[in-house]
């Protein structure tokens, strides 16, 4: 019968469609594939090693430099200076040196390899729920979405919680989104390229102990190498002493330049710990009394001792991103298999799918913003990196090279705050504090990329003491603009991202 045939044909079509929509329940093949670990599907820009046990930032070149510097200097010290000193003075010197060295190495590795306190991104249900709440709260507005903030009163101080467009959450107080790692990190201090990781709630104490012990080690080596040279020169004359141990000269040079920056950094972080502030907050002057008479730090415990204890010996929260767990759909599926993809299944693969969509949305916003505000960022005379237009992204390397020797770029719409204390020279603060466009939602993927990769000190800058560094005090931000290392790759990926986004846009 004609009807029967068409019905059966329709049935065939229907069943074809349903098998193409892949539900895990339908395809037994999927059950046999090995389960992925969560780190393999992690949405941030991190690198994982040892099957998820070790977690680092994407760019680790400077970390290896740190490691090499420490190992080489200590190696030279133990090989060339310690035998002499152990003989002439006391064998305790190499022992203390050894202990310090091991402690430095241990804390460095711990800081670099551990999870700084990354906040996992919102599941699709959570994100949808939040969006609904925000829409209800704001009502329907025009084409421009309103800034998404929530105000909370913490211990008498009003704190604004910002909405993170990448992670789809309202950031907890003191959390910040690291543009380099593309993660929200709890109690975000800064992203340290020397350590190859963000410094946040879970590894701040290790970072502090690292720089503290490194200060002692540097001073120790410096002092004893000088002692060695002096003792040796008493006997043989200064020039001969230098010729006998050329390694000592190298050590002195390295230590001399390191001492200034590292001891300075230790002092700065000691101040931060005792007042329970993050680098971010200090540089922004969030709790400075200059902002207002009633402005105080609501997180401080009141006295220096408690603040120090809390920061260094307080409870260590476990990692919130279960790196080594297995990816699974943990939510109930709909009963009938022909319904296709379930609505509430928030698997990691769906999340990464969401990320693609998210990228598409970000690219759309990016392009619209770019079209709307092409010239706003080009006010200042210094070449500004923080332009919105994707076209400029490609031409950035040329522009940044102009700024290599110059002072820091001033943020056109930003508020450069006066430095309240020595800015941390070598480490990068969250770009959360860079109000690009003056909007609060400044985390769109492509937008962050040009900002992100200009905050490193290239190795050429390494030995220079604070006085010599260009990016010193005037603007209070220790961002240096470099055309160096990481630009080509970043520009490529930026270009790729915007192209991908535009292609998706056009396909819609």
């Amino acid at each position: 019968m004609h009807l029967g045939v068409s019905e059966s044909m329709r049935e065939c079509e229907y069943s074809q469609i349903s098998t193409r929509s892949s539900t895990p329940m339908e395809t037994p093949y999927k059950k046999r594939t090995p389960k992925k670990r969560k780190w393999e599907a992690f949405p941030g820009r991190n690198k994982f090693y040892c099957d998820g046990r070790i977690m680092m930032a994407k760019q680790t070149g400077v970390f290896y430099l740190t490691l090499v510097l420490i190992l080489v200097t200590c190696g030279l010290f133990f090989t060339f200076d310690c035998p002499y000193l152990a003989q002439q003075l006391t064998p305790i010197i190499p022992v203390i040196g050894g202990v310090l060295f091991l402690f430095v190495l241990g804390t460095l590795l711990r800081t670099s390899f551990s999870d700084p306190g990354v906040l996992p991104r919102a599941t699709s249900d959570e994100a949808a729920d939040l969006e609904r709440q925000i829409d209800v709260a704001n009502g329907s507005t025009g084409y421009r979405p309103p800034p998404r903030t929530k105000e909370v009163v913490i211990n008498g101080q009003t704190v604004k919680l910002k909405y993170c467009f990448t992670c789809k959450i309202f950031r907890p107080p003191r959390a910040s989104h690291c543009s380099l790692c593309d993660n929200c990190v709890e109690r975000f201090d800064h992203h340290c390229p020397w350590v190859g990781n963000c410094v946040g709630r879970r590894n701040y104490r290790f970072f502090y102990m690292f720089i503290l012990s490194l200060s002692f080690l540097t001073i120790f080596i410096f002092a004893f190498v000088i002692t060695h040279i002096i003792l040796s020169s008493h006997r043989n004359g200064f020039l001969k002493a230098l010729k006998d141990s050329p390694a000592s000269v190298l050590e002195v040079v390295v230590c001399f330049f390191s001492v200034w920056s590292i001891v300075g950094l230790s002092g700065f972080h000691t101040y931060l710990i005792s007042s329970n502030q993050t680098t971010n907050e200090d540089i922004k002057g969030s709790w400075s009394s200059k902002r207002g008479k009633d402005n105080y730090n609501p997180y401080s415990h009141g006295n220096i001792f408690t603040n120090c204890c809390a920061a260094l010996c307080g409870p260590l929260p476990p990692s919130l991103i279960d790196r080594r767990g297995f990816v699974q759909s943990d939510t109930p599926q709909l009963a009938s298999p022909t319904n296709g993809i379930t609505m509430y299944g928030a698997t990691q693969s769906q999340q990464s799918h969401m990320c693609d969509q998210d990228q598409c949305i970000q690219s759309t916003k990016f392009v619209l913003q770019a079209a709307a505000t092409p010239l706003l960022q080009q006010q200042s005379s210094e070449p500004v990196i923080l332009t919105a237009s994707p076209e400029n992204g490609v031409s950035l390397p040329g522009r940044t090279s102009l700024a290599l020797g110059g002072p820091c770029t001033s943020l056109p719409l930003g508020q450069p705050t006066p430095p309240t204390s020595t800015p941390s020279l070598s480490c990068h603060e969250a770009t959360d504090m860079l109000p690009i466009h003056g909007h609060t939602h400044n985390h769109s993927h492509p937008l962050q990329e040009p900002v992100a990769h200009h905050h490193f000190l290239t190795p050429e800058e390494v030995p220079s003491p604070p006085g010599m560094l260009h990016c010193g005090s005037p603007l209070g931000h220790s961002h240096t603009v470099q055309a160096g290392f990481y630009n080509p790759a970043s520009q490529d990926s930026l270009h790729e991202d915007s192209v991908r986004g535009l292609v998706k846009l056009s396909s819609v």
Partner: protein
């Protein structure tokens, strides 16, 4: 069909009607606390007191995990002295509390929430951001 499923097994087949998210309460700082405000979607399902009691208990457990007391200081100092190798054999206080919380939530689910067609998800699985309450369709889930 005379199959008897336990509620755990039946849950995958039950339809999810809605999800409610209890957000964090930051009025005391960055300590992990959840809002005790009773969400309107649960009004038909569970007693307000009961729910608030659960959340309050969870808040207490989290507060204890993050408490700064002599015990945490001793643990911190010991860990530092042993270069954190002590945690190869011992669990941190926080981890112990998290286990306790997981057990409490399991218990609450079995006793109170599952019979009412609700399911609490452990906040640690959501990055300590929210308490996710899944509301299942009211399809006579009790046997």
């Amino acid at each position: 069909m005379a199959e008897t499923h336990s509620l755990q097994d039946m849950r995958p087949q039950a339809a999810v009607a809605a999800k409610v998210f209890i957000q964090r309460d930051y009025t005391n700082g960055t300590v992990c606390q959840f809002q005790t405000k009773f969400p309107s979607e649960l009004e038909t399902r569970i007693d307000k007191q009961q729910f608030e009691e659960t959340v309050r208990m969870l808040n207490n457990l989290y507060a204890e995990a993050e408490k700064l007391g002599s015990q945490s200081y001793i643990e911190g100092c010991l860990a530092c002295l042993t270069a954190y190798t002590v945690f190869l054999c011992m669990e941190t206080h926080y981890e112990k509390m998290l286990k306790k919380i997981a057990k409490y939530i399991q218990e609450q689910n079995d006793k109170i929430y599952a019979p009412r067609g609700l399911l609490l998800t452990d906040p640690i699985e959501r990055g300590l951001r929210v308490i996710e309450v899944t509301i299942f369709e009211d399809r006579s889930l009790t046997r």
